[in-house]
Subunit: 228 residues, 2 copies
Amino acid sequence: MANSSDIVWHDASVQRAAREERLGQRGVVIWFTGLSGCGKSTVANELDQLLNTLGCTTILLDGDNLRHGLCAPPDRLAKEHGEDFASRFGLGFAEMDREENIRRVGEVSSLFCTAGLITLTAFVSPYRRDRDRVRAVVESNGEKGDFIEVFMDTPLEVCEQRDPKGLYKKARSGEIKHFTGISDPYEPPESPELRLDGGRNATPMDLAEEVIASLRGRGVIRSTGGES
Amino acid sequence: MANSSDIVWHDASVQRAAREERLGQRGVVIWFTGLSGCGKSTVANELDQLLNTLGCTTILLDGDNLRHGLCAPPDRLAKEHGEDFASRFGLGFAEMDREENIRRVGEVSSLFCTAGLITLTAFVSPYRRDRDRVRAVVESNGEKGDFIEVFMDTPLEVCEQRDPKGLYKKARSGEIKHFTGISDPYEPPESPELRLDGGRNATPMDLAEEVIASLRGRGVIRSTGGES
């Protein structure tokens, strides 16, 4: 197969630029981080809907779609792949497992970003080091500005009061160990691209609109947007 | 955050249909399988270029972009994550590692497919069971017809003669153990959606055009295509 011209094929940045032109957007990773119950998933979902209304091409990565597949726990993998396989590659909530979870999500986000998609992720991702590693991966596969860290800054008291999945209750009773904010640390971003105040009376739509405004400002989406 | 309406947000299939309408294509996984040196990467790259010329939105997943990130080997992970982490989650070429490699690629392909992208993958993927599992994942997250298995049917003699990376030579000398086609089996697909004859005198472009014709026939791309 001597006719192949590898030079053209592997010039991924040319292809990315052409695709972004066609899609009318820049590929980015919008990385929501914050305590359990802070509203990051809710706002990310709202934002995803809004962006789609504006004609944007997006993907939303969160526990809902990853914990069933790419980052499945051991018991989910065991049936299909056997116990040895499941205990090695399945992800629980131990420190190493959480690190690998964020690593996998980060790598996948980076792929979506280089494909030109507006990539939304919603994970607690409590450790600064893990988030900074994702930032480094995304930027090294693309360019500076591709990683937008959004800190959902909701007071612990508010999150615990909401407790949508009853997890705080279990963490307080000791039924869940290593729970972020209770028995495990949350390291807030030092200089996130965006900080959302999840404690005040803003609706998810208000907060999603705040992100949209930031995206327009950064040239990720056109400042006079799509169909709206 | 009581204003959220989860029902709308999680209706992924509605969103997927709208996006596919906008992109003018159907999300699919085009899974190239075949021996090392059979030409699958070359044809997948050619196809990727062609599809982009037609205005399609694509992603190409192959060893080049995954072995450096999501499916990195232990030595690559060790520097950043330490030895214990690397030896557990890093992927070598042992049987279990290869199974996990294909599983991760399959899960990621499925995410891209549901996002509406034409997703090209180029991996030897020698085991029928592994490929069938990917098909099941892709179809269960989407629908039947989302997985298009393309068997690059190139005789072993031709692959070995090309030997672009000198791997067959090493396999024959025993330097590489467990090499597909030499010391490890390759299980050809029993009923692939498409079979490409990599042995005859066709150029990568000819073979990519064959795939394009098949995609038009399947309604993945419009039968009168894009800018060409």
